[in-house]
C-alpha cells in the first residue's frame, strides 16, 4: 500500500526516507516541540505516506496507553515523605542555629591558623576545670526545696510506721519505726511519700465538719482526726486477687501522720482519691498518678469517670493524663472515648499523650468500634497534615484510611 503512495520509489529507499521522519514524528506525538513549519512539513508527509501515518497513530496509542497507566503516588507514601521532610527541615534549622552560635563563639578563622595558641588555650581551660571542679563539687550546698512545692521531709527521713487506730481504715503513723511493715515487696509503689503543704482551701484544712465522707465507715476516725494540717503524701496500691480491686493505702501527712487503708469501694478512700484528682494542682504528680491508678478499676462509676475526664483534660502531668486516658478507654461509651481522644490529640501539648490518644484511636478504628464522623475525619486529616509529630501524622493517616474504607464499605 505504501508503495502505491510513494509514487514509484523503491521500497528500501522509501523505508530509509521514512526513518528520517521518525524523530520529527516522535516529537510531534510528544506535543509542543515542533515549530509550525516543521509541523506542516510532517503533516504533508503523513498525508502521502501511509506507513508513517500508521506509525504516528501507533506512537500516539502507545503514549496514551502509558499515560492511562501512569498513576499518582500512593497517599500514604506522600504523607510519609511530607512528615520526614518536616522533621528534616526542623533538624536542619536547629543545626543551623547551633552552628551559627558556635560560629560566633569559635570562628574557624580564630582558631585554625594558630594551632599553638589554640592548644595552649585548651590546656589552660582543662587545667582550670580540673582544679576547680572537684572543689565546687565538694562544697556544693544541699539543694534547696523547690519554691513551688516546699517539699516537706520525705518519708525516708520520717518513716511512717503504721499503728492501727481503728479496725476499719485508719492507722496512725508513729515516728522512728520501720516503714510499711508487712507491705514489703508486695506493695506497688504508686507514689513516693512526698508531702505537699496544706493549702487553705483543702478540705482537710477546714474544720472536720467541712469534710463529709460520702460513705463513712462505722466507727471511722476520719472525722475525729484534726485534718486541718493534713494532706495526701503518698498512695500505695497493694495487689489483691483477681477481680478484686486492690487495697489502697493513703499516707496522710499531718502533725500526727496517719494512714488510711481500704479498697476503692471504701467511701473515705474513694473520696480522698476523687478529691486528689479534682484538685490536682494541690498535689504532686506522683500522688495524682497514684489516684488515677487506684481509681481506674472503677472508671465506670460516674463520679470516677468524671474525675478521670477532668484529669485527662486538666492535669499538668502527661503521665497522669496518659493514665487517665488508659483508664477511660475501657469504660466510657466509644463515641465519648473518641471525642476525648480527639480532644487530647488536638489540645495536649505533650506528644506522648497525643501518641497514646492516636494509638487508642487506631486500635478502636481497626476493631471497627468507632463510627466515623465528618468532624472526626476533619480533625484527623488536620493532624495527618499538620501535626508536628511524625508518628502522629503517620498514624492519623492510617486511621483516616481505615475510617474512610469503613465508610465506603458501609455505603
Amino acid at each position: 500500500m505504501s508503495q502505491n503512495r510513494k509514487f514509484g520509489r523503491h521500497e528500501g529507499e522509501a523505508r530509509a526516507a521514512c526513518e528520517d521522519w521518525q524523530p520529527l514524528l516522535s516529537l510531534s506525538a510528544a506535543g509542543g516541540e515542533l515549530d509550525p513549519a516543521e509541523e506542516s512539513r510532517l503533516s504533508a508527509h503523513l498525508a502521502e505516506c501511509a506507513e508513517c501515518s500508521d506509525d504516528f497513530a501507533c506512537e500516539k496509542q502507545t503514549l496514551a496507553l502509558l499515560a492511562a497507566q501512569h498513576g499518582e503516588p500512593d497517599a500514604a507514601l506522600l504523607a510519609g515523605c511530607r512528615a520526614g521532610l518536616q522533621d528534616a527541615l526542623d533538624r536542619d534549622e536547629d543545626r543551623g542555629w547551633i552552628s551559627r552560635s558556635l560560629g560566633i563563639l569559635l570562628p574557624s578563622s580564630w582558631v585554625s591558623p594558630r594551632p599553638a595558641w589554640s592548644a595552649a588555650i585548651l590546656l589552660a581551660i582543662g587545667f582550670c576545670v580540673g582544679m576547680l571542679a572537684p572543689r565546687l563539687l565538694i562544697h556544693q550546698p544541699a539543694a534547696p526545696a523547690t519554691a513551688e512545692h516546699h517539699v516537706a521531709p520525705r518519708a525516708v527521713s520520717r518513716p511512717p510506721v503504721l499503728l492501727a487506730r481503728n479496725s476499719s481504715s485508719l492507722q496512725e503513723t508513729a515516728p522512728n519505726q520501720p516503714s510499711l511493715q508487712g507491705a514489703g515487696n508486695q506493695a506497688v509503689e504508686a507514689a513516693s511519700a512526698q508531702a505537699v503543704p496544706l493549702p487553705a482551701n483543702s478540705p482537710f484544712a477546714s474544720a472536720p465538719a467541712s469534710y463529709a465522707p460520702s460513705n463513712p465507715a462505722p466507727g471511722s476516725a476520719l472525722a475525729a482526726i484534726d485534718m486541718r494540717q493534713a494532706t495526701v503524701a503518698g498512695i500505695n496500691l497493694l495487689p489483691s486477687g483477681a477481680g478484686v480491686p486492690p487495697e489502697v493505702r493513703l499516707q496522710l501527712a499531718a502533725p500526727q501522720p496517719f494512714t488510711m487503708q481500704g479498697t476503692i469501694d471504701d467511701g473515705n478512700v474513694r473520696d480522698v482519691l476523687l478529691y486528689v484528682l479534682r484538685h490536682g494542682d494541690l498535689f504532686s504528680p506522683d500522688v495524682r498518678l497514684g489516684a488515677v491508678n487506684a481509681l481506674s478499676p472503677r472508671s465506670q462509676d460516674p463520679a470516677v469517670h468524671s474525675a478521670l475526664s477532668h484529669a485527662l483534660r486538666q492535669d499538668a502531668s502527661p503521665a497522669v493524663r496518659v493514665s487517665a486516658l488508659q483508664a477511660l478507654d475501657s469504660s466510657a461509651p466509644q463515641d465519648l472515648v473518641a471525642r476525648m481522644l480527639l480532644d487530647a490529640m488536638s489540645g495536649d501539648q505533650d506528644p506522648g499523650v497525643r501518641e497514646q490518644a492516636i494509638d487508642t484511636l487506631r486500635s478502636l478504628a481497626d476493631a471497627g468500634q468507632i463510627a466515623p464522623s465528618d468532624h472526626m475525619l476533619s480533625v484527623l486529616k488536620d493532624h495527618m497534615r499538620n501535626d508536628p509529630d511524625q508518628y502522629i501524622r503517620a498514624q492519623s493517616a492510617a486511621v483516616v484510611r481505615e475510617l474512610v474504607s469503613q465508610q465506603t464499605g458501609n455505603q
Binding site: 516522535s26 501507533c58 496507553l65 497507566q69 515523605c81 521532610l85
Partner: protein
Amino acid sequence: MSVAIEGDARQAALAAAAEEQALVRKAQSGDRLAFDELVRRYDRDVLRLALNVVHQADEARDVYQESFLRVYRNLHRFRFECSFYTWLYRIVTNTALDHLRRRTTRREDQAPEFPDADGATHDFFDRQAEDRASASPEKQLLGQELNRHIQDAMKSLSPRERAVFELKHYHGLRLRAIGEMLGTSEETAKNSLFRATKKLRAKLDAIR
C-alpha cells in the same frame, strides 16, 4: 472570542507566576510557611518524578527529602533566571540520577513495594492497576498484566531516558527546559526522548 479567552488565560498565568515569585521571595527571606507552601504545590509531582526515575519507594522518599533540603539550603541562590519549578525539577532530577549512579546492585529496577493490610506486598505498578481497574476481576487482571509489561518496558530505558520521558510526558515540560535541568542541550534531550519512545514501543507494540 477565543482571543479574549486566550488573553484571560494569559493574564491568569501571569498573575500565578507573580504570586509564586512573591512566595519564593518570602521563602528566601526565611519564611518557613512560605517554603512549606512551595513544597505542597510541587511535592506530589516531585515524588512521582522520583518514583518513576528510581523505581523504589524508599529511594524515592530519600530523593524527595534530599531534593527539598537542597532547595531549602540553596533557595537564596535562586535568581529567577528560570521558573521555580524548572529549578526544582532540575534538582530533583539530578538528585534522582545521583541516587541511581550510587546504586551498586541491579535491584534498582524492581518496582517499589507497598505492604497491604494482610501483609502481602504489591509493587507500585500493581497498585496502580488495582486503583484503576473496575470491580471486574478480568479487567483487574488485564490491568495488572499490562502494568507488568509497562514496567518491563520502562526497565529497558536508561535512567536519563526515563527522566526525560517522565518530564516530557507526565510533567509536560519542554525539551529545552528538560535539557537545562539535566545540564545538557535540547538536542540531547530530544535524542533521549526519541530513544526512550522507540524502546518503549518496541516492547509495548506487541501487546496493544
